[in-house]
């Protein structure tokens, strides 16, 4: 187990290195942020001064070495735009993204699981077909488009929900959370639902497939034959086996939900890290872009690791890594 974790971490470091290299040089090639920030009256001399101030006057490899040096000390640099350590900006905004992603995960499971179970139990009913059709749509609709349609319908036409930003937050153990206030919930509903669509479709399909498979399995037949009530059969015996693939896939998808939040956040002006990334790209705020990506890589590696471990707990047949005797 430990060897497995160490190997994973080592891999992550390698990815991190390659990625920083690529992004660092890539962003450098695109252009120079100074030209965006400087006023139109800024002369060549003034531009050069700003570049020196930001450390952009050095050869790019030298900049990269300095960056690596600072990184080794845990310093990811300061955002050009904000003048604040990039990492602190990410920590400031990450709770909002995490909340959005968690909420959409919850919606996906809360809606997707029952629908999937139903569709799996009565595969040929009309309702099941409708459910499967819906899941097909959920896979296919580009989320930016559905987000806008929601805004137009629920906030402009009907006036039910606010369309912009995050609502009132409260501090829970030092982290701002918005699900606990009415205002916060109202702001959260639309973006979270939009973001949940893809996952919801996935949950529906996985649950349905699992259900169909399980219903034919011997142990379920046996349970039924021995007079266990249907509810108990589904609720206990079937459920456990259905949940394994669902949990695995959701765990892996959670990372990509956080990434897809980039789109949702920019439509709903949700103040999370995704929107910050888009803004940072627009002005080539390199420290912020690089810091975000490093953050994301670390997060993904952690999540994948957790999924692997969780998976092994849910299904004792699987042993992580196979490192043990």
């Amino acid at each position: 187990m430990i060897e497995f974790i160490i190997r994973r971490v080592a891999q992550a470091m390698l990815v991190l290195f390659v990625m920083t290299l690529l992004v660092f040089f890539g962003v450098h090639v695109i252009g120079n942020p100074v030209y965006i920030f400087a006023s139109s009256e800024c002369t060549r001399e003034c531009l050069d001064e700003i570049m020196a101030n930001l450390g952009l006057d050095l050869p790019i490899w030298q900049q990269y070495l300095m960056f690596l040096g600072n990184l080794a000390e845990g310093d990811l640099g300061k955002s050009f735009t904000f003048g604040v350590p990039a990492m602190s900006l990410i920590w400031e905004r990450f709770p909002a993204t995490l909340e959005l992603a968690t909420a959409s995960l919850a919606i996906a499971v809360a809606v997707g699981l029952p629908l999937g179970l139903y569709a799996g139990m009565r595969p040929d009913s009309l309702v099941s077909r409708a459910i499967m059709g819906f899941s097909m749509l959920g896979f296919s609709v580009p989320i930016f488009w559905i987000g806008l349609i929601f805004i137009l319908t629920f906030s402009v036409r009907l006036g039910w929900l606010p369309s912009v930003g995050r609502g009132q937050t409260v501090q829970v153990f030092g982290v701002p959370v918005s699900v606990l206030t009415r205002d916060g919930l109202a702001h959260l509903v639309m973006p979270a639902f939009t973001l949940s669509l893809i996952m919801m479709s996935m949950v529906i399909r996985l649950t349905r497939a699992g259900m169909r498979e399980v219903l034919h399995a011997d142990y379920i037949r046996f349970a039924r034959a021995s007079g266990v009530r249907e509810r108990r059969v589904i609720g206990l015996h079937a459920m456990k086996n259905i949940l394994i693939p669902v949990v695995t896939v959701l765990g892996m998808e959670f990372a990509s939900v956080i990434a897809f939040a980039v789109v949702t956040e920019s439509i709903f002006s949700w103040p999370g890290v995704g929107k910050m990334l888009i803004d940072a790209i627009a002005v080539l705020d390199r420290p912020l872009i690089v810091a975000y990506l490093i953050f994301v890589v670390v997060m993904f590696v952690t999540i994948n690791l957790c999924v692997d471990i969780l998976y092994s707990l849910l299904d004792p047949r699987v042993r992580v890594g196979g490192g043990g005797p």
Binding site: V27, S140, V141, I143, I278
Partner: protein, 298 residues
């Protein structure tokens, strides 16, 4: 090939097709998909206007609702967009680009992925380990983020977006092909071929590869739907395609800003076309999986 084998293959194909079309939704999806591909292919001949020819497009005709007659005397059955492009023509050409991006990136990714998967499966050992580590890493990153960063660095253009989509897709193919190839390699006929001392390449491409094809076809279809949707999303985020030659996704994104003022046709029409396209591809993929993957056929 002997005549008997040919006939058998022919029959298998017919059986496949009949099984495929037994489900009405799949039949409809196939018809829709073929119709869309045809329309995209012959767009230059059926489109009322060449939306890329600036002498045919006039800003004075912009934002016309569907069915309006323009100054030039031309009737825009589906209206015009913010630049005065005929929506019907823009959508036909946009469909062309969306399909081109989806299919081409899928095929290239398929080729690369297949090669990597076969090599990994057949050579095994350290090469397999290294290749699969790379695949794992690639798959652990969310596609949208990788594509977004790549396109920021690469810039705009159809070629660039195809590159980005290939980069995010090849690993799926590689992993699946390797899996199938491993199973196939253990089969008797491969053992037999090995026994006959046939070359590795020959076994790989003549015997193992054809047996991987059904699975690859399924994944390719699903990936194509994803690629088209991803391209639309990236266009919305402002990377990918140049605005002068819009894909369906870019048309939707451009029309986005006209929705509130009641010019629904600029965004909704391409949105519907894109939706129908992706749904039909997904339905096809689903049906193919049901038929080709016996495990799920009940």
């Amino acid at each position: 090939m002997t005549g008997a084998r040919l006939a058998a293959a022919h029959q298998a194909r017919r059986r496949f097709l009949r099984g495929f079309l037994a489900v009405p939704s799949a039949a409809i999806a196939l018809v829709v998909f073929v119709a869309m591909c045809t329309a995209a292919l012959i767009a230059p001949w059926i489109a009322p206007q060449d939306p890329y020819d600036l002498t045919q497009v006039s800003i004075m005709d912009n934002l016309l609702p569907p069915g309006t007659e323009a100054w030039s005397g031309m009737t825009h059955w589906l209206g015009t967009d913010g630049q005065g492009r005929d929506m019907l023509s823009a959508m036909l050409y946009g469909l062309r680009i969306s399909l081109l991006v989806g299919i081409l990136s899928g095929l290239i990714a398929l080729a690369i992925g297949t090669l990597v998967g076969l090599v990994a499966a057949f050579r095994g050992g350290w090469l397999d380990a290294v290749l699969m580590r790379i695949v794992d890493l690639q798959l652990s990153f969310p596609t949208i983020l990788v594509a977004l960063i790549l396109l920021v660095i690469l810039g705009r253009g159809v070629d660039k977006i195809i590159i980005a989509l290939v980069v995010v897709q090849w690993a799926y193919f590689a992993r699946t092909v390797r899996g199938v190839a491993l199973v196939e390699s253990a089969r008797d006929y491969v053992e037999a071929a090995r026994g006959l001392r046939l070359g590795a390449m020959r076994i790989l491409f003549l015997h193992v590869l054809p047996n991987c094809l059904p699975t690859m076809l399924v994944i390719a279809t699903i990936q194509m739907a994803q690629a088209i949707s991803l391209e639309a999303t990236l266009s919305f985020l402002g990377v990918g395609l140049p605005p002068t030659r819009p894909s369906l996704g870019l048309l939707i994104a451009n029309g986005f800003n006209f929705l509130q003022s009641g010019r629904w046709w600029i965004s909704v029409l391409p949105g519907v076309v894109l939706l129908v396209l992706i749904v039909s591809v997904n339905v096809l993929g689903d049906r193919m999986r049901e038929i080709l993957n016996p495990h799920l056929r009940r």
